[in-house]
């Protein structure tokens, strides 16, 4: 008999910040005043904001209590498909917060920041080797920012070639960010459907690819967890019409050491360092979204670029075809340090094993849960598998109910209702850092929930009951927005 993880325990209530405190308290050691007070021009000054005054103890208890209302990877398994909630190694935090980096100003003369520049140059080389592409920018602040960089590169490339193009092909399995990023560059998304096997067929691409289409955005492995096996043929079709191939590398964690993006015909790829390379998600950011390109697109990468000249590293602006800058400074350096540390810790063999075990875990779950939950594409999956609520609908139980009930069992729910091509999708990505024991408890919990759906569906409708809050009224929140106190 499995002992399930979910239980209840004492958590404490905590009001909003401004509902506590007393005027005149301060949680900050004000620096000694060693210069005289001056008067700023009265016409320009004001009272300052209406902030609560709190002691250090008030502040510490406040946030510690809030923290206990969160689930996290360090708490338990977080099988959130497409999000890659793997363990975030603690040594990487030590490296990223090293005072030499944390205390460094971004506009230092290059002689005074050789350490960071060397690290950036080295990380670019590592990411190029891992992806099989030729040149890398580390500047984008997140995956979607990397997508924007990629679309800007498409745009600049076609303009340089003398013909701006107006359309881009985006499969129906794509993340919403793909069409949103493309539309920032004025591209109209041409959606194409995946075939009955859950992947793109070359014919579907050939039917829409023309000389007004700038290229295609493909996620590979795709959001169904399937490898786009026709990618090379698709790339050939797109290239023959003068287009470019963008690969959303959100799922690179499935193919480390196995696939070669250059061989597939990919021209531009973004990586999510917070997925594949284990930098923490931070409750929704910051991430980092480096972009890797094939040699012919290197001139379009954002500036400045790290160069090694006369035995020292420097930041160079000397790239006249560059798309320009995406952030004020050079990228999310703290996350670059974490990802660099991760790669150096694992090395080639263990990075390959990361993908092998990520796929093994997903394949194991797929095999053990199929039959219990409907599996719309019963094919060998990569790092994630997508079920649906089809078998539970007879009991008037939905994907949302299953997800909420899983919380009571002590797991974060999978990604739900995505990808859109699977109605009621339940998208499970275990990642490689979950052990067989943990996954077995997860599988037993999912099976127990399926049994409850049949025998006592009301338990699912009422779930969750073991969290800080019961289900929240999202409709009311949107209808009458209360966005501040």
């Amino acid at each position: 008999m499995t002992e399930f993880l979910g239980t209840t325990g004492l958590v404490l209530n905590e009001p909003l910040l401004w509902e506590k405190g007393r005027r005149g308290r301060c949680g900050f050691s004000l620096p000694r005043r060693d210069v005289e007070r001056c008067l700023a021009p009265a016409a320009l000054t004001a009272e300052g904001p209406d902030f609560p005054d709190l002691s250090e103890v008030d502040v510490v208890r406040h946030y510690i209590r809030l923290s206990t209302w969160n689930f996290s990877v360090d708490t338990g398994m977080y099988p959130l498909g497409s999000c890659t909630m793997k363990y975030n190694p603690k040594t990487n935090e030590r490296q990223a917060s090293h005072p030499g980096f944390a205390g460094a100003h971004p506009l230092l003369p290059s002689d005074l920041c050789q350490g960071a520049l060397e690290l950036m140059a080295a990380l670019e080389c590592l990411l190029a080797e891992i992806t099989g592409l030729d040149a890398v920018t580390l500047q984008p602040g997140a995956g979607a920012h990397g997508e924007l960089a990629g679309m800007l590169i498409f745009h600049a490339y076609h303009r340089h070639k003398g013909g701006a193009r107006s359309k881009i092909i985006v499969p129906d399995t794509a993340h919403g960010t793909n069409p949103a990023s493309a539309s920032l560059c004025g591209y109209t998304s041409i959606p194409i459907a995946s075939n009955e096997k859950g992947v793109l067929s070359p014919e579907a691409v050939a039917a829409v690819m023309d000389d007004q289409t700038c290229g295609i955005m493909v996620t590979n492995p795709n959001t169904l967890g399937l490898f786009e096996e026709n990618i090379k043929a698709i790339a050939d079709i797109v290239h023959a019409k003068g287009g470019l191939v963008y690969c959303d590398g959100a799922n690179m964690n499935a193919v480390l050491g196995m696939a070669h993006m250059g061989n597939m015909g990919v021209d531009v790829l973004h990586l999510n360092l917070h997925k594949t390379f284990s930098t923490p998600h931070g409750g929704g950011g910051p991430g980092a979204g480096p972009v890797c390109v094939a040699r012919h697109l290197e001139p379009f990468l954002p500036v400045p670029r790290v160069k090694f000249v006369d035995d020292r590293y420097m930041l160079s602006e000397d790239f006249p075809l560059s798309i320009g800058k995406l952030q004020a400074f050079w990228g999310n350096t703290a996350n670059l340090i974490r990802a660099y540390s991760y790669i150096l810790t694992l090395g080639a063999e263990d990075l390959k094993q990361v993908s092998q075990l990520a796929v093994l875990n997903a394949r194991y779950i797929k095999e053990r849960l199929k039959g219990t939950f409907h599996l719309p594409y019963d094919r060998p999956c990569m790092h994630e598998c997508v079920f649906s609520d089809k078998l539970q609908q007879a009991y008037k139980v939905s994907t949302l109910d299953i997800a909420k009930r899983l919380m009571d069992y002590g797991f974060h729910p999978p990604t739900i209702y995505f990808p859109l091509v699977v109605p009621g999708a339940i998208m499970i990505e275990p990642t490689e850092t979950e052990s067989k024991e943990t996954i077995d408890v997860f599988i037993d919990s999912m099976k127990a929930i399926a049994a409850e759906a049949r025998d006592n569906p009301e338990v699912l409708h009422q779930a969750p009951t073991r969290c800080k809050r019961r289900r929240l009224d999202e409709t009311a929140a949107a209808r009458k927005p209360c966005l501040r106190g």
Binding site: R25, G27, D34, R37, C38, A40, L44, A46, G48, P49, F51, Y63, S67, N70, S72, D74, T75, L80, P89, T91, E93, R94, G100, F101, P106, L108, L112, G132, A142, L148, G176, A180, G186, T188, E229, G257, M258, A259, H281, G283, G284, P286, G287, Q327, A328, S341, L344, A348, Q353, Q356, V359, L360, Y364, P464, K468, R469, L472, E474, A478, L483
Partner: protein, 443 residues
């Protein structure tokens, strides 16, 4: 490998259940032409202890404070960060959680971000602030795109006293959209003249930064008055929000959108990132805002709780019609800023802002007394421009050897400002540090 828990026995059992022969066999679906022809060539793996030594070596080649005295701000500021801030924001429950799409088990992050939105809105004097964006520069670009959506106009005017690197990011974002960017010059006071706005009735927005890149306080209100009469929006940018503890905030002056960098609110400089893109607007424009928003609601038992809301603006619902492609907030940085603002409180923030102002005024006085020209006459916050005599670059290099970085040379950003340096003084510099700098730059 300590992050990978599988034993050979686990692997064998799981392969059997999965119906695969070997780990490599799991990848049979990848066609040969898509595979690597050779294994990855990466450095040999490091132990934790070897990695520490390696990173120590790299970090040792950085001119970090407090070893160096770095009198450079320009969008990245050194401020004291209480130990409690780093301690609280290192909590695993904040660091290793995802975007709070499942609100019942994410109330910690959601309440913290609702509080951040509130503190940010109060600091900026705006009606609504979002859950944050990448950085100040990209927030400004998004603000101008938002103004173009609202007004359906396709020209914007941007002050040349806005951070030059922010303006370059604006150019990158706006170039493919066809939105024309006009620049407004700054005058001898170091500020932008509202009379320099041409054809405001054709503009989607006018953007000014205050304090601006030179540290000078702009009169945002006069821009707001002038552009509102012409149906355009006033975008108030900033890179040093601590200034609003002393100077009038964007909202009080009528800004429609306030956006900028929040790094100075307790976030380490980290060689430029991650930072905190702060973004706030008038409530009437909320459905046109980019970025995540947390809102208050009730649960099934009628208890107060928080959720992500108004997501029909966002890419995961709206796809190509979204207000932005952004699907992140720099959540942990927003949390850090909130903890920092809560630690300071209203009283502490006012005092700290005053101290920053006073220290910069002290150094200005010292430099003036030493005969250094401070060319701009406008009031400044914690940074200002000094014009040094020809040949100062040799002094600048000599000071670096003494571990002093005497400001940011402006010639590379503004060819007309050769020999001009942007100097920044925060609470971290003691009177002795300021006396030393004033002495060294004139000797």
């Amino acid at each position: 490998m300590r992050y990978l828990p599988h034993t050979p026995e686990d692997i064998a059992e799981m392969l059997k259940a999965a119906g695969a022969e070997s780990l490599d066999g799991l990848f049979a679906g990848i066609p040969p032409e898509c595979r690597r022809s050779a294994p990855m060539v990466l450095p040999n793996p490091l132990t934790e202890w070897e990695l520490n030594a390696h990173i120590d070596r790299l970090a040792g080649r950085m001119a970090a404070t407090p070893d160096y005295k770095v009198f450079v701000g320009a969008g990245s500021y050194e401020h004291f960060i209480p130990a409690s801030v780093g301690f609280l924001t290192s909590r695993s429950e904040f660091v290793t959680s995802y975007t709070p799409y499942q609100p019942e088990m994410s109330q910690g992050t959601l309440q913290a971000i609702f509080e951040y939105q509130t503190l940010a809105a109060r600091l900026l004097g705006m009606e609504v602030a979002n859950a944050s964006m990448y950085d100040g520069a990209s927030a400004l670009a998004e603000a101008l795109l938002m103004a173009a959506r609202i007004t359906r106009r396709s020209k914007v005017a941007v002050s040349q006293a806005i951070h030059p690197l922010y303006r370059r990011v604006v150019d990158t974002y706006l170039k493919p959209t066809g939105i024309e960017v006009r620049e407004m010059p700054f005058g001898s006071s170091g500020t932008t003249d509202p009379a320099a706005i041409e054809d405001p009735d054709q503009l989607a927005a006018v953007a000014v930064q205050s304090p601006n890149f030179f540290g000078c306080v702009e009169e945002v209100a006069s821009f707001a008055d002038r552009v509102h009469a012409a149906g355009a929006l006033c975008v108030a940018a900033f890179s040093e929000p601590l200034a609003f503890g002393l100077f009038r905030n964007p909202g009080i002056q009528g800004a429609d959108i306030a956006c900028g960098e929040g790094q100075s609110l307790g976030i380490p400089r980290s060689f430029g990132g991650p930072g905190l893109g702060m973004f706030a607007a008038k409530m009437q424009y909320v459905r046109n805002m980019p970025g995540r928003l947390v809102g208050e609601t009730r649960d099934k038992e009628d208890r107060r709780g928080f959720v992500l809301t108004l997501s029909t603006r966002e890419q995961h619902i709206r796809r190509e019609k979204a207000t932005s492609n952004i699907c992140t907030n720099n959540s942990l940085c927003a949390l850090t800023a909130a903890v920092y603002m809560a630690s300071l409180g209203g009283t502490g923030l006012r005092e700290l802002a005053q101290l920053n102002f006073d220290k910069a005024e002290y150094l200005k006085g010292k430099l003036r007394a030493a005969g250094i020209s401070l060319p701009f006459s406008a009031a400044t916050f914690n940074e200002f421009v000094a014009a040094f005599p020809d040949g100062f670059d040799a002094t600048y290099r000599r000071l670096i050897a003494k571990k002093i970085v005497a400001g940011l040379p402006l010639g590379a950003f503004y060819p007309g400002l050769k020999n001009h340096y942007l100097l920044c003084v925060t609470e971290t510099m003691s009177k002795d540090d300021l006396d030393t700098l004033a002495r060294e730059v004139t000797s």
